[in-house]
Amino acid sequence: MSMWKSFGKGNCQTRRYWQVLLIIFLFNLVVALLLTFPFWNILGESVGYSLAGKEIASELNMKYLTDFFINEQPSLTASYPMPLLLGVGIIYLLLNTFFAGGAIGLFHREERFTLESFFRESGRWFWRFLRLLLISLVFIAVIFLINSLWKGIAGSALEESAHEPLIFWMKIIRYAGIGFFLLFINMVFDYAKITAVVSDERRMIRTALRSFGFVFSHPGRTMGLYYMVAIVGAILLALYLSVSYWVLPATIIVLTLIWQQLYSVARVWVRLLFFSSQMALYKTIVPAKR
């Protein structure tokens, strides 16, 4: 099966399991709402009964934003303590790892969606996916370590350079390099999850290494498919931004909110499309080798 066919099958599967998309989207929305609520409250107390609130409805006046963030800093800091934010972040990451198991499990088994089947799959793969998450964090840490070393070496080498554009492009290349390797690790560990599910593999370090082997054995198709989905995501982002800035009147909050939520759905869809299309590609390649 080609990349295109994998992409197509992935798209079909993502649509078929739209309930998974809905669960993940709603979870994202609920957590974001919980995080927004204290801000909403502080904002309401600050500008709710002020003419500033009236003006902000039509134009984001920097004068008022400045005053709000500086004068309300104690309330904001008290409402968003760092341990709370870290805790929410970790729980969110763990629950998304849990949901990823449900999504990939269903994409593999292709059985009818029920809440029971979704949560059964989620629970079944959670601990394995969690171990994969921890292993992937090691690789991510290595990327940032290499980045800081590179930054130091390049900084010393270019310290005497007067070639500003060169220095600028070196920085851009470094950022692009970080981005590339982060995406690469992300892709490899997507395949690690797929391998774990398809092969019912329990040894996760071995699974991760096999995924590296898989990607390196089929770099064209794996990376081609990954970037195909990534480009779809980029197009959706461009569409979202274009409509936000050029089409939607900022003053109609309901429309803005709906558009934002549609884009949020699209982001979840892209995330699931990565799983489903990569699953399709994996299943095409692996049996062929057996």
Binding site: I24, N28, L29, V31, A32, L33, L35, T36, F39, W40, L43, G44, S46, V47, G48, Y49, S50, L51, A52, G53, K54, E55, I56, A57, L60, M62, K63, Y64, T66, D67, F68, I70, N71, Y92, L93, L94, N96, T97, F99, F129, L133, S136, L137, E160, S161, A162, E164, P165, F168, N186, A250, T251, I253, T256, L257, Q260, S264, R267, V268, R271
Partner: protein
């Protein structure tokens, strides 16, 4: 022939008063420097000989003289400067970029050697004279000095082939009000010197492009790979120069002023932005204050990684930009803001030359105020990005609000709590003090104040009380109550509408009894206006002297109260919270929801990114 001779005679006679007028000094020339200096680019050294004439313009005999040796701030990590700014010390250490001034000989010209009479304390040199210098007497000192050029220091030094020479020569301190104003160089301090004349000859490699204070007099090729340039500057109080073989040169003119821009080759596409900014500033000052009195202004675009950007010197300023800025964020007026600010200093420092050590707000604050006026009149918002606009005055207010009350504006530079407090006070708050004053007095009155201050104190050293005296004189009112609070005090300005109520009269249908309570939350008392709006479109304007902590206004009308706002035109830019300036009867859900929706989406996006690791 006779007619021609008569005409020639008449022409010459007409020229005499003109030439006499031209020769009239603009300042009391207290110092006259004749310096010849050689730049050794291999050893990174400057070898100089200086003859400085100093006129004792005071009424006191002076048994000793004081000079500044600013580069000794970068001699080692024991200096006062490095102690206060260890980051600079770490950079100098890493780059092995220490720099200094060594005095090789010091004598009265054609007189005794004074080397034994020198006491050097880091950046301050004291010399005891054989006999006190009497009032109105002039002394000529002959000084030989050797400078190690620092690398990675602040405001001066070299990077690659770029050399920037500010505060590079042994420089006379100012004797004022019966004392020497000779202070150690501190990270927050700038400079203070007497007006005078400078004749400077610099010898350097022939391929270097040079920019300088003063005007060029002569350039000669020494036929040994070097050239010697002679610059002459009159009625200036400092002399700065720069040299780099790679400077691009752009020229322009505004009326009688020649503009020279020395730019980095990679910034060629920003030449017009710099030139436009200088011309806009020249034009604004020309009409607002007075024509620029010097024939030339040199703008230096500093090199990448350099440390000389964003500074002012007589007839020479340094700008600041980057190759990427207009490509990444074209809505940011980075070169314009820096160039216009530094040009403003040509008036408020270069001409009206206050003591920057002790009363920095007089130049930084007034210059920031000028910058805001010029930027907003010429360009509008200083930042346009993502549908948002930020005006220069809002940026100043942001800087002020970060530390609004740690120090008074009137504080010696080295006595500020930290750099944030220093810049928040002397730049930002001082600019807002003047913007608020302009709003309270009216723009025309404020313009007269600024023109009077300039005319009275040009080419002299005014103090804070001189500025306040001008304000009082022009307005015909004693404005000390204002300056006492906002310049000498640390009190906050914060007015608020504390509460609103509007209830229908139980006895008379359709009649509402409305109450507005205004509160002064800060210590600073400024009379304010209050605008009260009703639902039939009616408005009431009230004046409150603000002396008590609160005041209540009561209305009985056939209309329900809608809102009330203290200082509705936002005249008081020092107010620390414009949001609480107003209060409405109705909840403004649209504004709240709009911002909350933005934050909701922001949180969702952050969570999506986090989920991609799962």
């Amino acid at each position: 022939m006779f007619k021609k001779s008569c005409a020639l005679m008449l022409f010459i006679l007409l020229l005499i008063p003109v030439s006499l007028a031209v020769a009239q000094p603009l300042s009391q020339r207290v110092v006259y420097y004749q310096i010849s200096v050689r730049l050794d680019t291999d050893q990174k050294m400057l070898y100089g000989n200086e003859v400085v004439s100093f006129l004792n313009s005071s009424e006191n005999p002076l048994p000793e003289l004081y000079l500044h040796l600013y580069w000794n701030a970068f001699r080692n990590d024991k200096s006062y400067y490095i102690q206060k700014s260890p980051g600079v010390g770490r950079r100098l250490k890493r780059l092995d970029g220490w720099g200094w001034v060594d005095i090789k000989s010091f004598r009265i010209l054609d007189g005794p050697d004074l080397m034994e009479q020198l006491e050097i304390d880091n950046t301050v040199l004291k010399v005891t004279l054989p006999e006190p210098l009497q009032p109105q007497q002039t002394i000529k000192l002959s000084i030989e000095f050797e400078n190690k050029i620092p690398k990675g220091a602040v405001r001066a030094g070299y990077i690659r082939d770029n050399y920037f020479f500010s505060q590079w020569f042994p420089k006379m301190a100012v004797y004022l009000d019966g004392e020497w104003k000779a202070f150690q160089y501190h990270p927050h301090c700038e400079f203070f010197a007497d007006f005078g004349v400078y004749d400077v000859e610099m010898t350097l490699p022939v391929d270097f492009v040079v920019g300088s204070s003063g005007m060029p007099v002569e350039e000669r090729d020494n036929r040994d790979g070097t050239k010697t340039l002679h610059f002459h500057g009159e009625d200036i109080h400092d002399f700065t120069w720069t040299a780099d073989p790679d400077y691009g040169i752009a020229r322009d003119r505004y009326q009688d002023t020649e503009i020279i821009l020395l730019y980095q080759p990679h910034h060629a596409d920003q030449v017009n932005r710099h030139l436009h900014a200088v011309k806009a500033a020249l034009e604004y000052f020309h009409h607002w204050i007075a024509p620029f009195p010097f024939p030339r202004i040199t703008v230096v675009d500093p090199p990448y990684g350099g440390v000389s950007g964003g500074m002012e010197y007589p007839m020479l300023i340094t700008a600041g930009t980057s190759w990427a800025i207009d490509k990444l964020i074209p809505g940011v007026l980075m070169p314009e803001l820096v160039t216009i600010h530094e040009f403003g200093h040509e008036y408020w420092y270069g001409i009206v030359a206050n003591n920057e050590f002790e009363e920095a707000w007089l130049d930084e604050g007034i210059t920031s105020y000028s910058e805001i006026k010029i930027i907003e009149a010429t360009y509008g918002p200083a930042l346009k990005w993502n549908g948002m606009k930020m005006f220069d005055r809002v940026a100043s207010r942001l800087s002020y609000l970060t530390t609004p009350r740690r120090d008074p504006i009137y504080t010696k530079s080295w006595e500020f709590y930290d750099g944030t407090s220093y810049s928040g006070m002397v730049y930002a708050k001082a600019a807002l003090v003047l913007l608020t004053l302009e709003n309270l007095l009216g723009e025309e009155t404020m313009n007269r104040i600024m023109r009077t201050y300039y005319e009275r104190y040009k080419f002299t050293h005014p103090k804070t009380e001189d500025f306040i005296a001008v304000v009082n004189e022009v307005t015909g009112r004693d404005m000390s109550w204002y300056f006492d609070q906002v310049i000498y005090g640390t009190g906050a300005v914060d007015y608020a509408i504390a509460s609103l109520s509007s209830k229908e009269d139980e006895e008379e249908e359709g009649v509402y009894l409305s109450k507005v309570r205004v509160e002064r939350l800060g210590e600073v008392v400024i009379p304010v206006q209050i605008l009260v709006s009703f639902d039939n479109g009616e408005q009431e304007r009230e004046l409150w002297d603000g002396k008590k902590r609160w005041k209540e206004f009561t209305y009985r009308k056939n209309a329900r109260l809608l809102s009330a706002e203290v200082d509705p035109q936002h005249k008081i830019w020092l107010d620390k919270d414009f949001i609480n300036n107003s209060r409405t009867m109705e909840y403004q859900s649209r504004g709240v929801n709009r911002l909350a929706a933005k934050l909701l989406f922001w949180w969702q996006s952050v969570l999506h990114v986090l989920a991609s690791f799962s």
